[in-house]
């Protein structure tokens, strides 16, 4: 079976599950949950760095979604709808804690200045040497606004227009924040690698 046909089959299966869930089928709800739980939970976990908080947010996101499933008309992909819900839930949590979220204006420096590359300076390349654990730790060290955009784009694979809609910023802002996030991660990973090299 080709990838396209498999994707179409998956979408039809999901559409069937959604219709069954609308009629109150418990198994359909559970199947939808199992299809999407990892991505939602991973996003929440990387934003909160706390398993208990991530599980609470995951539960909240799914409950909000399932309570509104009767209104889902299929205009957008179900996963996008779900992730939008998850992002909203996470953003509300950040705001409750008084943490900065993504600045609406791309010209505002709502977070620390992104590291600038010295013109002409040459660093050893990271390619081929990025440790998964170090990357996860570096992502956790990012400011929340950078982290959200980076997770949605580079980890979850959303386009900037989708991210802009989810988060409530402009496409330009989304691109700018993503670039700053990557530059910051580059700096953190190089620092981490240098520290590792100097350890006895």
């Amino acid at each position: 079976m080709t990838d396209a046909k498999k994707q179409q089959g998956d979408r039809l299966s999901e559409a069937t599950l959604i219709e069954r869930a609308k009629r109150g089928d418990a198994e359909a709800f559970e199947a939808l949950y199992n299809l999407h739980k990892r991505r939602v939970y991973s996003l929440c976990l990387r934003m909160t760095a706390n398993t208990a908080a991530a599980e609470d947010l995951t539960q909240e996101a799914f409950l909000q979604l399932f309570r509104k499933i009767g209104t889902f008309r299929g205009e957008s992909a179900f996963s996008t709808w779900l992730h939008r819900m998850a992002v909203n839930v996470v953003l509300m949590q950040l705001r409750k804690k008084g943490l900065p979220v993504v600045p609406l204006d791309e010209t505002m420096e709502g977070e620390e200045e992104a590291p600038r590359k010295e013109p002409g300076a040459e660093d050893p390349r990271l390619a081929g040497s990025i440790d998964r654990m170090q990357l996860q730790q570096s992502i956790a060290a990012l400011p929340p606004g950078y982290r959200m955009i980076f997770l949605l784009h580079d980890v979850e694979g959303y386009e900037h227009n989708e991210i802009a809609e989810m988060v409530g910023c402009s496409i330009g802002n989304s691109k700018s924040q993503l670039h700053k996030a990557r530059m910051k991660l580059r700096e953190l990973l190089k620092t981490s690698r240098a520290e590792k090299a100097t350890r006895p």
Binding site: D25, A26, E27, K37, L126, L135, D154, E156
Partner: protein, 209 residues
């Protein structure tokens, strides 16, 4: 193009680079190293997608909340399953009652020596062979033969179960045919079939070595 100019447009360069940018990358190892690093970070990040799993209690909590909200309704299968325990108590009592009845007749046979049990006789192997058995379907016989081959001591118990559940199915079928619009009669019939399926499942599971 200078390095500063290149870095200024870098956030916009997702789809690729134009000729000028390509030329700068070929000539500037620092900028090409930067692009290479940022791409490597992006590619490695994609591997992190959906790599964590929440604990099972998350779904349990969601399901509980949905049931409390009334958003989860019982399917017909769940209703039949809910009925099954209610109806299966009848079957559960049939088997031990049948066993007590047979043992009592066995005792009477030994004591009086003349009374023939109307339902069963004890065989040489000690298993109970019903004399008034209704002819069993071939698949029931095959199941009993399978059980007998794996655990002979269990054959008699499953034969009793099958007799009882077949009688239950006959009654339920008669009732459903007589009352085709009666939903309860239809559910009883579904439950009877499920009971038989359970007997098969138990027989095959428990007789496995």
């Amino acid at each position: 193009m200078t390095c500063e100019e290149f870095e200024r447009v870098l956030p916009e360069l997702e789809g690729g680079h134009n000729t000028e940018q390509e030329a700068h990358l070929k000539s500037c190892s620092a900028c090409s190293g930067l692009v290479s690093d940022l791409n490597a970070i992006s590619q490695q990040a994609r591997l992190l997608q959906g790599s964590e799993e929440p604990s099972p209690w998350v779904w349990n909590s969601i399901e509980l909340a949905l049931r409390q909200d009334g958003l989860i309704h019982q399917s017909s299968r769940e209703r039949a399953r809910a009925l099954a325990p209610l109806l299966s108590w009848k079957l559960r009592w049939l088997v031990p009652l049948a066993a007590v009845f047979l043992v009592a007749f066995g005792v009477l046979i030994r004591q009086r020596g003349t009374v023939q049990p109307p339902v069963s006789v004890a065989t040489e192997t000690g298993s109970i062979q019903p004399t008034e058995t209704v002819a069993m379907a071939s698949e029931d016989q095959q199941l009993l033969n399978t059980v007998a081959a794996r655990m002979p001591s269990m054959r008699a118990a499953y034969e009793s179960n099958l007799l009882a559940v077949n009688a239950y199915i006959r009654d339920a079928e008669q009732s459903a045919h007589s009352n085709p619009n009666d939903e309860v009669a239809q559910q009883y019939l579904m439950s009877a079939y499920e009971q038989k399926a359970m007997v098969y499942e138990m027989a095959l599971d428990r007789s496995l070595p």
